[in-house]
Symmetry: C2
Subunit: 336 residues, 2 copies
DNA sequence: TTGTATGCGTTATCAT
DNA sequence: ATGATAACGCATACAA
């Protein structure tokens, strides 16, 4: 069952392949009737231009690749959906790959995307964060690429980021205003800029209220990580009055462990998360969390990427910083 | 900044392109030393075989496409991760696309995957379920394809499904055993086989206990749909003593609405969900739900697909039915 | 307006 | 063991 090619159509209609080709690429002169006839019979024969061959000669694919570190939590899927809205609108198709937070798989995914000649990439790094050199070479080679959320500052590419510093500050301030003076920060993976920024916002709030610096524990983004760190605190008997976690899953994991050990949330321990997973408002008690404009992040990244793809001359990378919201819920408000 | 091609390498080493090609495909005769030399200098020059050109001539890509209707809930991501484990192991890369439950986008995604010459497809249909004819033609053309979870029975392809009938039966039976005689089923989208099966399991449990048939309301899988249907019941003042929802999100949406209207879960209304989203055990009260072996589903689908890809002769489609578990939690157990 | 010829970057066949 | 050359399926500069 061989594929039908342009030649088959040409032969059948006794025209040249170029004429058939022209019928499918309406930037050339071609008589309206022949074009119509060709398109009609091509359709009848079940002919479709082979995009692989097309890519080979045109060096473009109308495909955009999106690389994310995970998609179990709703954050990345929501961003992807936002990006997809813009890209599909413009005739692009979106290919997604996820690396399970593994730098090795991330690199393979990256190469696969390039192998498939994507016209551009939208990337959020995995927390291992090891492929900087490869990204540099890709950027240098001229492949349009936009980073979001988990970015590396030094890379000369456009970025869409969240104002982690500011909102970590607000989240911490909220706890301080509630009267807490012994707050522990579950900070994110060390290599990520956003971990640093959230951590610094945490410190800044302490400074503003002239409270001695809060304790920080490095903690992954996952629920398991939150459970691990919470257990650690319980074993050491170093229970703070409040926790500000760098992610919702880690906050939820900690909450689970504390509840299991008889601590009441928020009365014994107040908890604030970050990133507003869809869980936050449904768990018990509902989790106070910073929400990020996920759809916006995706849309903005997509627009930036399209700009870059369509720019012929020198492209100047931009960094766009988006705003969020602090959703205050029961997990951080003492009830009597 | 042109790409380095096989010709560049050949010219530099004063050998023919065929020799260089041979060095990269070790199925041909080539002297060990020349091969080594070629690979070495190729690496130095930064040459990599262009997979697009390779695909054009070899008609294979080592890429597998996975098509899902959504990935906001953790179900599909978990399946994908399972599939990925198997496929990456075998040297395949996994491209993912999601259709947001839109048949139109699903079709485009499908074509994009084929455009990229994936060696096979793993597909779960969107609930609109309109592209049957296209799937038929793809199967006929010989493209290996495995459906999972949301399948169409009549398609002659391998399928990995869950025993929806049986587990819907168990879930309903659980409610009946708890003493409920007025149970409403939030059934899934009409076109899907799994909706029908879950619905029939619901009926079967009623028959077994000789209870008059339960009421059924068609309801999408999303939280919003659950909210909508719950509101409808409240407005009509037709409050059952228990609800068996065909999905966790719709169960959770309903739970939210009922709680907001002053109903206590499970004392006023017991609720059971299906598919065990990661939410289930964390919401208040924890949701009784049927859990599916998501990772297994993905792995099984991947294995089936690889079998088919590697089978040269006639391939006989298989249907594999996987088992689950009923996780009983507070949402369905009356407390005093 | 249409046809001819060339090239995109490979691999495969046939010589040598 | 290596080289020359024809595909793969298409787009495009140039000629007609």
């Amino acid at each position: 069952m061989k594929h039908i090619t342009i030649k088959d159509v040409a032969r059948k209609l006794k025209v040249s392949v170029s004429t058939v080709s022209r019928a499918f690429n309406d930037k050339y002169d071609i008589r309206a009737e022949t074009k119509e006839l060709i398109l009609k019979t091509a359709k009848e024969m079940g002919y479709k231009p082979n995009p692989i061959a097309r890519k080979l000669i045109q060096q473009r694919s109308l495909n955009i690749g999106i690389l994310v570190p995970e998609f179990i939590n709703s954050f990345f899927p929501e961003v992807i959906i936002g990006a997809q809205e813009i890209l599909i609108e413009k005739g692009y198709q979106v290919l997604i790959m996820q690396s399970n937070e593994s730098a090795e798989i991330e690199l393979k995914n990256l190469e696969t995307m390039l192998d498939n000649m994507v016209d551009g990439l939208i990337v959020s790094l995995c927390s291992e964060n090891k492929n900087i050199e490869r990204y540099k070479s890709i950027i240098e080679s001229g492949t349009p690429i936009v980073f979001f959320n988990r970015v590396i500052e030094e890379l000369p590419a456009s970025k869409v980021v969240f104002d982690d510093y500011k909102w970590a500050f607000f989240a911490t301030e909220h706890l301080i205003v509630q009267g807490h003076r012994d707050i522990v920060h579950f900070s994110g993976p060390k290599n990520l800029t956003l971990s640093k920024n959230r951590s610094q916002g945490f410190d800044a709030a302490h400074r503003k209220y002239k409270i001695s610096e809060g304790k920080k524990i490095t903690c992954g983004f996952s629920m398991e990580e939150g459970e691990r760190v919470a257990l650690e605190l319980i074993e050491k008997n170093e229970i703070p009055t409040a926790i500000f976690a760098a992610s919702d899953p880690s906050a939820i994991g900690a909450m689970k462990v504390f509840k299991e050990h008889g601590y009441r949330i928020p009365n014994d321990i107040a908890i604030v998360g970050f990133s507003e997973s869809s869980l936050a408002e449904h768990i018990a008690p509902p989790l106070t969390s910073v929400s990020q404009p996920t759809g916006d992040i995706g849309q903005t990244a997509a627009k930036l990427l399209l700009d870059q793809i369509e720019t012929t001359g020198l492209f100047i990378p931009q960094t766009i910083i988006l705003n969020g919201r602090l959703n205050v819920r029961e997990s951080s408000i003492k009830v009597d």
